[in-house]
């Protein structure tokens, strides 16, 4: 265990004890390791980087952050004037792909060459409030813009195409399935959109609860689409094999499901703002397990992971943390 990891663990335990938590809760809190970021940084989304590092999108000061959990050091990569990225994902060669609303562009960073490449949204589209990106089966990037668009970067040609979304504003999280289909969630539209990657057309899929506020989506190994519902406080799942939906209310009073992530064992992880907790859901037993976050108002806006670890951008305290499974 490195010095920074020891410090992070000690801080987590101390926070839990200060909050008057039971010893069991302190042990749970110790599973969270926190990494301090440069002052003023605001981590919105995270994604696994090369060699155990963690990428984060710094929405406030702009740029890409790279946390090295082994040393606790953070490297910043400038992406361009006015940068304000919301999302980051990792592609082939550990390249980071960012949805940079400040530049109204998709921006990539190749860690091997240190090269930053900018793919601008067509000028006549206007401001799009870019949100999140995902890969399709051809290796192209699809992205959402909350003003009411979704689009694609053809990585062979660099061409950026944009479509107006059904029901206008709202496209938020987006995910690619194992077989390369692409789905997005519309927060303001309260639906899930399935994109035909050949034509660019989107089909509206309505979750069972009206006005649920579908915020983020993640595909599991069976290509089912898990949805975090912000307004209803539920998670739901769409199975494209038989066009069916199921839904579950998160535990606690007043849950608000912001982010969803499905791990390598098909366990579903949810960021619940109502309970300030990381919540695990087992689709087989249909049981929830709640892990209170050690810091107040953690405001976890996205979840990612890798085997054995859940990666969390805590936008409230402005840290990146790892939860050991």
């Amino acid at each position: 265990m490195t010095q920074s990891m020891r410090t992070a663990s000690a801080v987590a335990i101390a926070l839990a004890l200060l909050a008057g938590a039971a010893p069991g809760a302190a042990a749970e809190a110790a599973r969270f390791q926190a990494f301090t970021l440069p002052a003023g940084d605001y981590p919105h989304d995270v994604s696994p980087g090369p060699n155990g590092t963690i990428y984060y999108a710094d929405q406030r000061r702009g740029g890409l952050g790279i946390v090295d959990p082994k040393t606790g050091k953070v490297e910043k990569v400038a992406l361009g004037p006015g940068s304000s990225p919301h999302g980051v994902i990792t592609g082939p060669g550990d390249t980071a792909w960012l949805t940079d609303g400040g530049q109204n562009a998709i921006v990539s960073y190749d860690p091997a060459t240190k090269k930053v490449t900018i793919y601008r949204i067509p000028e006549d589209t206007g401001y799009t409030n870019l949100n999140t990106a995902a890969f399709d089966r051809k290796g192209d990037i699809w992205f959402t813009g909350q003003t009411g668009i979704y689009g694609k970067v053809d990585l062979k040609t660099g061409k950026v195409s944009v479509w107006s979304s059904p029901k206008g504003r709202g496209p938020y999280g987006i995910t690619g399935t194992k077989n390369g289909d692409v789905y997005y969630a519309s927060l303001a539209g309260s639906y899930v959109g399935r994109i035909n990657i050949e034509t660019g057309e989107a089909t509206v899929l309505e979750p069972p609860t009206k006005g649920q506020g579908a915020r983020r989506v993640w595909a599991d190994s069976k290509d089912r689409i898990w949805v975090s519902e912000w307004i209803s406080g539920q998670i739901s799942v769409y199975d494209p094999a038989n066009w069916t939906w199921k839904q579950w209310k998160l535990p606690g009073s007043g849950p608000k499901a912001y982010a969803v992530y499905v791990d390598e064992q098909d366990k579903v992880w949810i960021a619940d703002w109502g309970g300030n907790a990381l919540v695990k859901f087992d689709p087989v037993t249909e049981k929830f397990e709640v892990f209170p976050l050690p810091r107040e108002n953690a405001n976890v806006r996205q979840i990612h992971g890798r085997p054995g670890e859940i990666l969390l951008p805590e936008s409230g305290p402005r840290i990146v943390s790892i939860f050991k499974k």
Binding site: R60, N129, T147, R169, A188, G213, I231, R301, G316
Partner: protein, 125 residues
């Protein structure tokens, strides 16, 4: 002469000239940065942010039934009113001025764009 100048100044303050079409367009364009989460119709209650209808001059955290962050509720309780000046300051760097707000928005960095946005919001009561 002096009285006439004072009267003219008062009139200008009380009855500002209507925004030009160009300014209105600039304001509408700037509002695209807000539109994902905020509406301008009081009946729109299912968005992730509160309505901005009537925001100019309203106390912070005053839309009934909206789930504001503790930070915004505290600001409202302490008397923050969204005057044009307060909005101008806040929109410069929302995450710097109110770090614990749940609105993840880097702000409107251009002062002219902020002014156009605030003037645009004034039109929606």
């Amino acid at each position: 002469m002096k009285a006439a100048a004072v009267a003219a100044l008062c009139a200008a303050l009380l009855f500002p000239p209507p925004a030009s079409a160009e300014e209105a367009d600039a304001g509408a364009r700037a509002f695209q940065k807000c539109i994902s989460c905020h509406g301008l119709d009081r009946a729109e209650t299912d968005l992730s942010g509160p309505t901005l209808a009537g925001i100019v001059g309203r106390r912070a955290a005053a839309v009934a039934g909206f789930g504001y962050s503790p930070a915004m509720r505290r600001a409202g309780a302490e008397g923050l009113v969204w005057t044009a000046d307060a909005l101008h300051r806040y929109l410069t760097d929302p995450l710097g001025i109110m770090p614990d707000t749940t609105m993840s928005f880097a702000g409107v960095r251009d002062a002219g764009e902020r002014r156009a946005l605030i003037e645009y919001l004034r039109r929606f009561e």
